[in-house]
Each structure stands twice: as C-alpha cells, then as structure tokens.
C-alpha cells in the first residue's frame, strides 16, 4: 500500500484539492508535485524508512512535500513552523533525518542545527543558505513515472511530535495503516464527500490539522488553508467566499469566534457542520455555538496523537441531551473505561479510557519506557480519566492532576472554569490552586475578559462565582490577562500558569 496513492486516488484530476491564499490547486497539480518530490528524494538516494523533516506553514509547499515523502515511502516528520532551537536540536539528534524541507524564513534559524542533512528551502536559497537546494528545482524535477513505493501496513508514515507538559517533545510513530484506518473512520461518521470543503486554520503538523487534510483528500473534497485566524472575521468571510461546508477548531478558536468575531451576525449558506476537538469546550460555549449556527451540525470529538487523531465523537443529535460527553467510539475503535484493576467501571465510577483499533499507533520513537507505559497488549492507555453513563456515553472527568484541593475537598478545575465562562464576561479562563493557610489550597483564576474596559471585572467575576459555588471554591484571586499561554495546538499551558502564579502578588 502507499499513503500518497490512497490520499489522491479518489479525487477528480481537474477538481480543486487545495486552496491557498494565492491560488487553487487541483488533484492533478498535487499528484504532479508529489511525483516531483518523490522523484527527487529517490534520485537523491532517499530510501524507504528514512526521515524527512518538514517545517513550514501549511500550504502548497507543505502538502507537496508530505505527499511526495509518502509516495517515495520515506517518513515525514512535520514540525511547528515556530519551533525553537532547543527542541529542534533534540528532534534532529533523535530522528536523524536525511532531508529537511524548510520554509525560507525559518531556514536561517535552523541552519546551525542541520549538520549534514540535505536542506531544501521553499522559495530558493538566500545568502546564508547557498548550500541549500531550492524547492523550485525540486518542483521542476521531472517526476513523471516516479514510483509509488509499496509499503507494509505497519511501516512508518510519519513521526508526529507533541510537546509533553514536561520535558522534551515525544514523537508518536504513525503507520500507514493507522492513517488509513482513522481517515476512513472519520469520513464515515462525518459523512465527508467530494462536495465537502473544510476551512483549515489548524496547522498540519498537529494531528487534528493533518486529519482534515487526510479526510478531505481521500473523499475527493477540498481544503482551504488560512493562517489569518488572528483576524477572525477575515477567516469567516473567506469561508463564505470559498463556500466552505465545514470548519474545525480547538476550544480557543470557538471561544474567540463566539466572543470576539462577527460569527453571530453572519450567515453561512454552504456550511454543513463544524467539528471541535483538542480539549474541553465549556457547555456555555457549546450552547452559544448552537444558537449562533442554527441548523448546522456540531460534532464534539475526542482524540490523541497516539491514536493517529480521533477516538470518539458525540453524534450531533445527542448534543442537547448529553452535554459534556465526548460521545462514543468512532467506527472501528473500541473504547473502554477501566478501573485500577483493569475492569470496566460501572456507570458513575471513574476509570481510564483505554482504546483498541487500527488507529492505535506503534508507540513513541526510540522511547521504550514511555511506550511500555501507554501501549500495552495492543491497547492505548490514554491517561484520560472518565465516567460512562447507562447508555455507554463517555465523559472525561479531568486530567489526573487538574484539581484544586480546597478545604480538604478535590474540586475539578474544569468544573470551575466552566462556571467562570458562564458569565459572558470572559473569552477564556484557567484555574489553578495556590497555597492557602485556611483552605490548604485556594482557587486562583486567570481570566481573559471580552472587553478590558468592563468596570471592575474581578468583582463581577467573583460575584458571579458566589452565586454558583460554595464559598471555599470561589476564586480568592482573579488575575486578568490579555490571553492565556498556549502550545502550538492551542492547549492552555497550565504548568506555566502555576509557575507564573508563584511570582504574582496577592493583589494582582
């Protein structure tokens, strides 16, 4: 099997596949570009299984390289375009890449890490990069007749690096079979067809972003890439102009759209559905989304890089009655919630989500200890705690450590954040505990107000909490911020808030 062939074979040659800021590329354009990259890699001595770094914003360059690497049977290692030198150095020494494809503006800062790796730069070499090959030369490489390297299902297709909350990034080993299984499953439950077009604001180096590319190409549909979400209205207007049928985002995207964009004042005649993953979206935002997008399907989903991308989804028709649930296993996946002794929990009890299926990846790259912890007996132990209801729907409880212990009672930070966000005053909220003489731990809330000019936001937030929470759970400190620190896939970095909190005065 070959991943590139799998991804491109359903698309009509003349149909649009990728829309970037400047132009639209058909399936024939992508097939040609992939063949050129594959031809170049093979000609340059690249062999099956060798690693290829790819660091760039998602666009034609990114997609061409990704597909070309797959066609030639090498292993793609997509990295965030803003990766820092320390992380990069660690990844380079761990994956020992043979090639690196870099966006031009990133190349200079990565150059010192590159050693003897063959460097290919988008847009051509500039002064400090005289040694590098220009992507233009690769693109014009005649890939006609370039082979599709036949791989075994368990051969590696990609190493997907995620920044763990502690230590250096970990590379998840994703096989060809993993991607194919997850893509087919997602297309089945989302009903993605050739007529579908997704607005992709998520980076492709993130498994959720990559899943958008995989699913839409496989269905013969199209992907609009847009990196301008800092101006949310521009993205919304582009969705209307390009007739997007779908939108995908992590919680912070929906929070910004609902509290800081023209979403509610606009209409999206072609939009069929929106998908949300990458963390918990507070119920108040889910409800606001239903109101803002009447008649559109809303898919709340759950997954992990270790499961290629997706594990569960909540059927839209259950959204109103099963609020807060991540839903059920996607087709082809079995999910169980197991207690400490490995037995399925009873409704209401807490256990760990454990997954089986062809999308469960091969483990972590060159890290047997971590692999042994999470991947056992063909199952993925997700580390996520959850409960199950009588109908088998799964509810994530909280990350094991995301609690505040107030007055001897463990209180879920997520529950407190949900309460804070119900106030309509806030775009985002994150709760951490801090030492308190009376309570043991007290609640410190970092909040991003919709409007900084709202008078005495702290008093209003506290007043709101007093109406809803027992006294010891009301935040003792409310710290306003312009934004919350996040990683490149949009997850709030709680540890950084905990550390920051240590240097914050009591009257902050």
């Amino acid at each position: 099997m070959n991943l590139c062939r799998y991804l491109l074979e359903k698309g009509d040659a003349s149909a649009p596949a990728l829309l970037t800021a400047n132009r639209s590329y058909t399936y024939a354009d992508l097939a040609k570009a992939a063949a050129s990259v594959a031809g170049y890699l093979t000609e340059s001595g690249g062999r099956k299984g060798e690693r290829v770094l790819l660091a760039s914003e998602g666009g034609f360059f990114w997609v061409s390289v990704y597909l070309g690497v797959a066609q030639a049977g090498l292993v793609c290692v997509p990295l965030p375009s803003k990766i820092g030198p320390t992380e990069l150095k660690a990844i380079v020494s761990s994956v020992e890449p043979r090639f690196a494809f870099l966006e031009q503006k990133l190349a200079p800062k990565l150059l010192s890490e590159m050693g003897s790796i063959k460097l290919i730069v988008d847009g051509g070499p500039s002064a400090p990069l005289a040694e590098a090959t220009s992507f233009n030369d690769v693109e014009s490489f005649c890939g006609h007749g370039a082979q599709f390297m036949e791989l075994d299902p368990d051969d590696l297709a990609a190493l997907m690096f995620t920044s763990g909350s502690t230590g250096l990034p970990r590379g998840t080993m994703v096989s060809v079979r993993n991607i194919i299984a997850n893509t087919d499953s997602i297309n089945e439950y989302l009903g993605i067809m050739a007529a579908d077009r997704i607005m992709a604001i998520l980076p492709f180096h993130y498994c959720f972003g990559a899943s958008l590319l995989h699913t839409h190409l496989r269905a013969g549909g199209s992907v609009v890439v847009d990196s301008r979400f800092m101006y949310p209205d521009l993205v919304l207007e582009r969705m209307v102009q390009t007739k997007c049928t779908g939108f995908a985002g992590v919680p912070s995207h929906y929070q910004i759209l609902l509290r800081r964009s023209s979403l509610r004042r606009m209409s999206f005649p072609h939009l069929r559905y929106v998908q949300q993953a990458g963390g918990h979206l507070a119920p108040t935002f889910v409800n606001a989304l239903r109101e803002a997008l009447p008649g559109k399907q809303i898919f709340i989903m759950y997954g992990q890089t270790e499961a290629t991308a997706r594990l569960a989804y909540l059927p839209p028709e259950l959204l109103a009655t099963k609020q807060g649930a991540i839903g059920r296993a996607i087709p082809g996946v079995t999910l169980e919630v197991l207690d400490d002794r490995g037995r399925p929990v009873l409704p209401g009890q807490i256990g760990e989500i454990v997954a089986r299926g062809e999308n469960v990846t091969l483990g972590y790259w060159r890290d047997e200890n971590e692999t042994a912890k999470c991947f056992r007996d063909d199952r993925l132990y997700t580390g996520d705690l959850a409960t199950v209801d009588e109908e088998g729907l799964i509810y994530i409880v909280d990350r094991a450590k995301d609690f505040v212990k107030c007055g001897g009672q463990r209180v879920s930070c997520r529950m407190l954040e949900d309460v804070l966000l119900e106030s309509d005053l806030l775009v985002e909220a994150a709760v951490v505990g801090f030492p308190d003489e009376v309570l043991g731990e007290a609640v410190r809330a970092f909040v991003v107000p919709c409007n900084r000019n709202t008078d005495s936001i702290r008093d209003k937030v506290i007043e709101h909490c007093r109406r809803r929470l027992p006294p010891q759970q009301v935040p003792k400190e409310v710290i306003t911020r312009g934004s919350l620190p996040k990683n490149s896939s949009g997850k709030v970095l709680k540890q950084s808030l905990r550390e920051h909190g240590m240097s914050v005065g009591r009257h902050a």
Binding site: S227, S252, N453, G482
Partner: protein
C-alpha cells in the same frame, strides 16, 4: 501623538511577543507574514490598547488594515483617539 503611540506600541510588541529581541522588527513589519503574533496574541494587543487608550475596539475593526503592523496600529489608534476626544489637545 502618533509618534508617542508608535513608541509605546513598539515597546509592548517587543516585550510581549519578542521578549525584547528587536531582531527584524520594523514599524512596517507585517505581524501576520512574520508570524509575530497569533490569534490569542492579537487579543492581548487589543486588550492593551483598550486599556491604555481607554477605547473599545469593535470586532469588525480587527482587520489587517488596522492591525497588521506597528505603524498601522498607531495610525488606527491615533485616529480613534482623535475622534473620541476632540479637545484632547487642550
């Protein structure tokens, strides 16, 4: 007024997003093209402006024309300050 705002904005952008490293930042550098600021970063910039210059920025004012470089933000803010307080020079 414009020069003062420009210098304040420049300091804020440097301190907040570049950790003080001026590297290639000019007053005309595009935040978007240079990848200097992301979607939550721009909210931080908006909050700073709303607080510092006591103004409200509407959602539809959040456009590249108004926000995509230090100079553009300074021009936008100066114009808004002028309309908000016609006697500001007094």
């Amino acid at each position: 007024m414009h020069a003062e705002i420009t210098s304040e904005l420049r300091k804020f952008v440097l301190d907040t997003f570049l950790l003080g490293q001026a590297a290639h930042l000019t007053d005309d550098s595009s935040f978007m093209e240079e990848g200097l600021i992301d979607s939550t970063g721009i909210l931080e910039l908006v909050s700073f402006i709303e607080e510092r210059y006591a103004m409200q920025i509407a959602d539809d004012e959040l456009t590249p024309d108004n926000f995509d470089s230090i100079n553009r933000v300074a021009t936008f803010v100066s114009a808004k300050v002028a309309t908000q307080s016609p006697h500001a020079s007094a």
